[in-house]
């Protein structure tokens, strides 16, 4: 914990130090910055093309110009006036929000239990949960589908959500973070008369907000962008999520890239919001856990 604090203060010191512009550029530095710059360009290009395409007319989309000759917001008007987009957007929002809340709660409950309680079979449970991380989603899709079919979950929100309401990775992450919560804290609360559930909620959870934020971002993004499973488990356009719905723009006559890119550009907005909101907590959380007795 003190480690984090130390690093954080080191970082502020670094930025506080004025950069010495007179210093000659060393070759190693030039190479390093060039590589970083190229890496940055590679990562940003798809987003730039997405934005640029969303402002182009259909005839211009195979022209790789970044600034369209004749920019238009026609695509946005079209997508936003098409009722389906809202439907899918709302579907995605509901599904991603519920799975995020559910995964955060259950992953941290299970992680907390595995971390702070000693009981028979604890290691077995932990290893069993971890081992599911080694099975790729592609392999699970068919069993999930058969299961959903037999339970009658096809074409329902629950059918889309159930594989994600709890995650093995999140459980592992939370377990590791709970290690940093001293047992004293929990015992003090126990003496003060809180029950185990209250201790988890009022003492342990606030101390791992950075982990919760990171997990929330991961889970939200994962579910917001999920494609294969929602595609398989639904065939009712009313229940499509945004990524599944957007692909239907491509099957009608030809691939309408400008519309897909417009939808995709709009789809990034919630992810940006989620990231900005939770990122603050990551930073604040680090400051809080820097407290040492």
């Amino acid at each position: 914990m003190s480690n984090i604090e130390y690093k954080a203060s080191a970082a502020t010191l670094d930025t506080a130090k004025p950069y010495n512009y007179n210093k000659r550029m060393e070759p190693a530095k030039v190479i390093r910055w060039t590589i970083l710059f190229l890496g940055g360009v590679v990562m940003i290009m798809p987003i730039v093309f997405m934005m640029s395409t969303s402002f182009k007319w259909p005839h211009e989309i195979y022209n790789l110009k970044i600034i369209p000759d004749d920019p238009t917001i026609e695509n946005y008007t079209y997508v936003l006036e098409d009722g389906r987009f809202y439907k899918w957007f709302v579907n995605s929002l509901i599904i991603a929000t519920i799975t995020t809340i559910s995964a955060v709660i259950f992953d941290s409950l299970v992680g907390y239990t595995l971390c702070k309680f000693r009981f028979r079979g604890r290691m077995i449970v932990f290893v069993a949960i971890l081992s599911t991380l080694m099975i790729p989603t592609e392999m699970l899709v068919i069993p999930w589908y058969l299961m959903a079919k037999d339970f009658g979950w096809l074409n329902s929100y629950w059918g889309i959500m159930f594989p994600g309401v709890m995650t093995a990775f999140g459980t592992f992450l939370m377990k590791q973070f709970f290690e940093s919560v001293p047992d004293d804290f929990l015992e003090a609360a126990r003496i003060d008369g809180l029950n185990e559930f209250q201790i988890w909620w009022t003492v342990a959870m606030p101390l791992v907000t950075p982990a919760i934020s990171a997990l929330a971002i991961f889970v939200f993004l994962g579910n917001w962008t999920a494609f294969i499973w929602p595609l398989i488990v639904t065939n009712d356009p009313e229940l499509y999520t945004l990524p599944v719905g957007l692909t239907t723009f491509s099957v009608e006559q030809s691939v309408e890239w400008e519309l897909i890119m417009t939808g995709a550009a709009l789809a990034t907005i919630p992810t940006l919001i989620v990231f900005l909101v939770f990122q603050r907590y990551i930073i604040r959380g680090v400051v809080m856990t820097g407290l040492k007795g």
Partner: protein, 352 residues
Amino acid sequence: MATVELKGLVKTFGKTEVLHGIDLAVEDGEFIVFVGPSGCGKSTTLRLLAGLDEVSSGEILIGGNVVNNLEPKERNIAMVFQNYAIYPHMSVRKNIGFGLRTSKMSKADKEKRIDEVAELLGMTDLLDRKPGQLSGGQRQRVAIGRAMVRDPLVFLFDEPLSNLDAQLRTQMRLEIKKLHQDVGTTIVFVTHDQVEAMTLADRIVIMKDGHIQQVGTPAEVYQKPVNMFVAQFIGAPSMNMLPGKKSSAGIVLNAGPTISESLNSDASGIMVGIRPNDLTPALDNEAALFEGRVKIIEPLGPETLVYVELGQHEVLATVPGRTPPKIGDTIRLKAPQEEIHFFNADTGAAIL
């Protein structure tokens, strides 16, 4: 306020037994200090009392009731931890009030109680701060405040001062003592610092390897240690121990001199213990117990500690600070007869 009784308390972790039958009766309102070297089972005893660990065998009574099967919260005790265990995400007010969360008091009464406690600890101005904005001593005070707010039957302290610097420790020690005088609640306090034990305790419990060695007032354990361990553990610097034998003339020390004392013991070997404070320079016209060469001197200000070579052995003596001897000087040392302790060299038990 309540009495506390431990009866034949045993604790095992897996196959290792770490407490081997602890018997102790603590009176109502008494300040009891457990002291002993690291790993002797002090914290374990305290945790059993608090109900944080389960008793392997034996009984714990608080206020005359067996509490073995009660949850920590049902025992009405409060505990202050070494690392304070105050919550960094809550304000001082919330931290102090934490102990009242489950109480049935009205909100206004709770606030009033928190203010009272803060007042008592001189923390009224700090109530809205977060622990991160407090000094070590202030954090410790919050931890004590949280324990006090519920008005428990017994306070348990586990080395609460060991994270503080020396000066603050002395100050907090005084505050805890004052607090005890004000509220009069029974306190069980754990420390490995014998000075803390001596200054705070009504009675001291000295532990070693899961056994109680001696229970007594600070004066008793200092003046009449029951064995060599207690004799050397209590008092700083530690008591000098010199091996010797019984003879018709008295106790013949291997280091030379004979102490005329007829001991009621048939021990083959005798250990003679003299505290450094009692071993002082003899005046020219006085008889000396030892005579030896000064090897090292350690000035402390009011007095100077002197390491004196006695043949194969070495003793630590105290001389007045203004007239220290020089290294290599020969020094004559005396000790009052009544301050010389004798122990059975085999069993370590005191011979009275």
